[in-house]
């Protein structure tokens, strides 16, 4: 249950009108509270601005390994006790690591919020990483990598895709880490990571639920307030050099169906409001992704799956925000039997060309906007989702106020703007293509033993 990776950063941040308040403790820790009194529950999340983005070669995966080690005990709360105490309170807990952040959370009946804060404050300061616990847990993480990546053909394609798309930027590395790096990782690597990044001035507490904002702030001051800030290591700007031509790779793995992943380097929203192209281009790319694959009748599925049967599946995706200030516009798909990945690639590019020359219809724009307006309401049904949005934006470096302008900004996007971003970014010199070449599994493998018959 714990400790799974959140590799995908994509979501559309949109949110309710409920009041959100932000505070900063004296040690630099941020506290964001949103009251939602529909049910007597609370979600509490501690976000650290430390993820795969901050790793260095030879130590890939250490952010995620540390996330696992965070459950391995302190002096006051020995290994395993954190989970037991939350469980005894009826709570659910988990953690996840992404490129941009690591997040720990608990979902509890509202009166248990102090327990969650006490435990998180304790492991923010007093984590003990013993060689013995590390030796066991690193094996767990290697099993996780086998399950998540090694034995999943599409995951392998995605890993290769990231790797050749980003030559310099850390987004080229897998969050779970390379197997070789995991095999050679030491407890000291994990301790170093903890010392570097686990300090209150690098963390944000997000609390959403049936709480009183003043009381939450008082609790935060009580538990997190006394923790001393430490200077963070300098973060160097990491910029991906411009791509100068198409890049291609092939991955062979056991399976039956081929698969195609294509991507184009693309901008993200600026951290601070700006009057440059960066103020609107990401919104135009987001709407374009919606027009291409926002629902089953959107262009890609309608044309390539339903009308021409060229593909079994297709999709488009794009993230408007990231801490690493880079994004990709991605197209993926599986060709139908008898069709090749090359034919699918050509068909996807033809759809992009069509956008460049003819734009999109008002109906398509309206449909994307309708989805945005509705999603803005629907998400209020989930306190967890609301907390996720706040924590992600804050940790990436955006003001959470972005949430409020987001729907309006998307609604302002025009067909001309979509054409402009398609022309500017979705071109071949800026493109990376990775395909899966499926290999037969051993044809001699036969079941052993007899199936049971009733």
């Amino acid at each position: 249950m714990h400790r799974y990776l959140l590799i995908c950063l994509a979501f559309v941040p949109l949110i309710s009108q409920a009041e959100i308040q932000e505070f900063k403790l004296n040690n630099g820790m941020k506290v964001i509270v949103q009251e939602d009194h529909r049910a007597p529950v609370v979600v509490s999340q501690v976000w650290y601005r430390a993820g795969a983005l901050d790793e260095v070669n030879g130590k890939t995966g250490v952010a995620h390994v540390l996330e696992h080690m965070m459950f391995k005990g302190t002096k006051k709360v020995p290994a395993g006790q954190f989970s037991r105490m939350i469980a005894a309170a009826g709570g659910k807990e988990n953690a996840f690591t992404g490129m941009d952040y690591t997040c720990y959370y608990q979902q509890l009946e509202k009166s248990n919020l102090p327990l969650s804060m006490r435990l998180e404050a304790d492991r923010m300061q007093h984590l003990q990483i013993t060689d013995e616990e590390f030796a066991k847990e690193i094996k767990v993480v290697m099993e996780e990598r086998r399950w998540r990546t090694e034995d999943k053909p599409q995951s392998k394609v995605n890993e290769q895709f990231q790797a050749i798309t980003f030559r310099a930027h850390p987004y080229g590395r897998p969050v779970v880490g390379h197997m070789n790096d995991l095999e050679n990782m030491t407890a000291e690597d994990a301790r170093e990571w903890y010392r570097n990044w686990y300090t209150p001035n690098n963390a944000t507490l997000v609390v959403v639920g049936d709480v009183n904002t003043k009381e939450v702030l008082a609790l935060a001051k009580q538990y997190f307030g006394p923790i001393k800030a430490r200077a963070l290591p300098p973060r160097k700007p990491q910029v991906e050099p411009a791509q100068l031509g198409v890049r291609r790779a092939v991955v062979k793995a056991p399976g039956k169906l081929p698969y195609l992943a294509m991507g184009f380097h693309a901008p993200v929203l600026a951290f601070k409001s700006t009057t440059t192209e960066q103020a609107w281009e990401p919104y135009a790319l987001e709407v374009l992704a919606g027009v291409l694959s926002g629902n089953d009748s959107a262009r890609l599925n309608q044309k390539l799956v339903r009308e021409t049967s060229l593909a079994l599946d297709v999709g488009a995706g794009y993230d408007t925000t990231s801490r690493g200030q880079h994004s990709l516009f991605e197209l993926v798909g599986t060709p139908s039997e008898g069709k090749t990945v090359a034919e699918l690639e050509a068909a996807l590019l033809a759809q992009i060309e069509l956008i460049k020359t003819s734009g999109v219809t008002q109906k398509e724009l309206d449909r994307v906007k309708a989805a945005v307006i509705a999603a803005d309401v629907y998400q209020r049904d989930s306190v967890f989702y609301q907390a996720m949005q706040l924590g992600q934006l804050e940790t990436m470096g955006y003001p959470w106020g972005l949430i409020k302008e987001y729907p309006e900004k998307l609604k302002m996007v025009t067909s001309e703007q979509i054409q402009a971003v398609a022309k500017k970014y979705l071109n071949q010199d800026n493109m990376t293509v990775v395909t899966l070449d499926p290999q037969p599994i051993d044809p001699n493998a036969k079941p052993q033993g007899k199936p049971h018959v009733h």
Partner: protein, 433 residues
């Protein structure tokens, strides 16, 4: 992620439906005989509706495997002259979310819409329910897609193992049939098969409607009447055949080039409403259900680092659903891990649980109640399970007290009577060569 998804199923199908005062379920029957379960809630301008039928994959036969699932899916791809593009767009134009569910027992549809758009959303929803067209050309195309998907699944260890496992547990019982069908049966499927299946199983008398949100009871009644009235008016559906317990152990292993072995161990478990449900459920929290505090996780992951995930669950169904233990581990250590799992289970059954473990389990299950009904979408799923399996409405209110009543003795006794490791089915895909 895997852990996560297992837990989602677990919560939905086996966890408590305990309601507390404040979750006022209104229940009635439409004129055509559809049971309705409704919770009024005006906090958000949202309407959530679902309708389910006893039309899951267990209604297929070996030869028709896949018809149930394809019928449900094809209903969404053409109705009352609207083609698939028009149907999707009708929902998209108003920001409505149209989905559904499908498993061994159930097939159904789900709709989430803004209150202001509910009339339009329900109009399209009802067309899908009442007047599916099953267009020939769309079926031909979808069959090709489904067959390709099945051929791909047949190469992936996770799908291979779960298919073998269900076969080993259920033999000739329809629970052994794949939800997606088989290459041969999907290949020969005809529009007529889908029409017949629809007419037989999507009847008003067998349907269960669940609703929550921004509606008055009077509005909810009108919506339910309209939804129910247009359905086929055939008889209610017969129950599924009983599941026989395993008479002898089954061990199946299959080679695979993957780096990990996928291991599944278990037997047919229990039905909905089984008198042993609560002792087995609380016991399973201790054995392998309680995330990071279960015995299996402690032994296999925490102490030895052999796996990322190991779990056990009972999935109570209309007939005895699976009791399943699952794990994935590097193939060189698969035998050791399996041995450890079997030892842990054997000890659990022989000695039972401690008072301390029981107290912790109750504390979690009872204390976790508020999180189970903290959103409309969660409550909708609970309403639909309660309705489909005809659990008493008081079941919700009594759930926590039922948990509280369970004793260590009951757990030990229930496991010894119901779980037979000597006859477990064991499936290993990616066995060491």
């Amino acid at each position: 992620m895997f852990f996560k998804s297992v837990l989602v199923i677990f919560t939905l199908l086996t966890a408590s439906f305990s309601a507390q005062a404040g979750l006022n379920i209104q229940h009635w029957q439409t004129i055509s005989g559809t049971r309705v379960y409704f919770v009024e809630n005006h906090d958000l301008p949202i309407v959530d509706v679902s309708i389910n039928f006893p039309a899951g994959s267990a209604r297929d036969t070996q030869d028709s495997s896949g018809v149930a699932g394809v019928t449900r899916y094809m209903m969404t791809l053409g109705a009352d002259g609207m083609n698939e593009e028009a149907i999707t767009n009708a929902f998209a134009d108003i920001g409505a979310v149209f989905g559904g569910e499908f498993d061994l027992d159930r097939a159904g549809f789900k709709l989430r819409t803004l209150t202001s758009e509910q009339t339009k959303a329900l109009e399209t929803f009802n067309k899908v329910l009442h007047q599916p067209d099953f267009p020939e050309a769309v079926l031909a195309r979808e069959k090709v897609r489904i067959v390709s998907g099945l051929q791909e699944s047949a190469t992936q260890p996770e799908s291979i193992s779960s298919k073998l496992f269900m076969k080993a547990l259920y033999g000739s019982h329809p629970y052994s049939l794949s939800e997606e069908g088989e290459v041969a049966s999907v290949g020969t499927m005809k529009v007529d098969d889908l029409r017949k299946f629809y007419q037989t199983y999507y009847t008003a008398k067998s349907a269960v409607i669940a609703m929550i949100g921004d509606m008055t009871p009077a509005q909810a009644r009108t919506i339910a009447e309209n939804m129910s009235a247009g359905l086929p008016q055939g008889p209610a559906i017969a129950k599924l055949p009983d599941v026989a317990p395993l008479a002898a152990p089954v061990m199946q292993s299959e080679n695979h080039p993957a780096s990990q072995a996928h291991i599944l161990v278990g037997q047919p478990g229990i039905k909905r409403g089984d008198p042993d449900y609560f002792p087995l459920y609380v016991g399973n929290y201790i054995l392998g259900g309680g995330g990071f505090v279960s015995r299996l996780t402690e032994e296999v992951r925490e102490k030895r680092g052999l796996v990322y995930s190991v779990y056990s669950y009972f999935m109570p169904m209309a007939e005895a659903g699976p009791f399943q233990i699952g794990l994935q581990t590097k193939k060189e250590q698969a035998n050791d891990a399996l041995k450890l799992v079997n030892q842990t289970v054997a000890l659990f059954i022989e000695k039972g649980v401690t008072e301390k473990e029981l107290k912790a389990a109750k504390s979690n299950l009872i204390g976790g109640f508020p999180m189970r009904i903290d959103s409309n979408s969660k409550i909708l799923d609970y309403l639909s399970v309660i309705g489909f399996y005809q659990l008493p409405l008081t079941y919700l209110d009594e759930f926590n007290s039922q948990i509280a009543k369970v004793t260590t003795q009951q757990i030990k006794e229930a496991y010894q009577r119901r779980v037979k490791p000597a006859n477990f089915a064991t499936v290993i895909v990616g066995a060491q060569e």
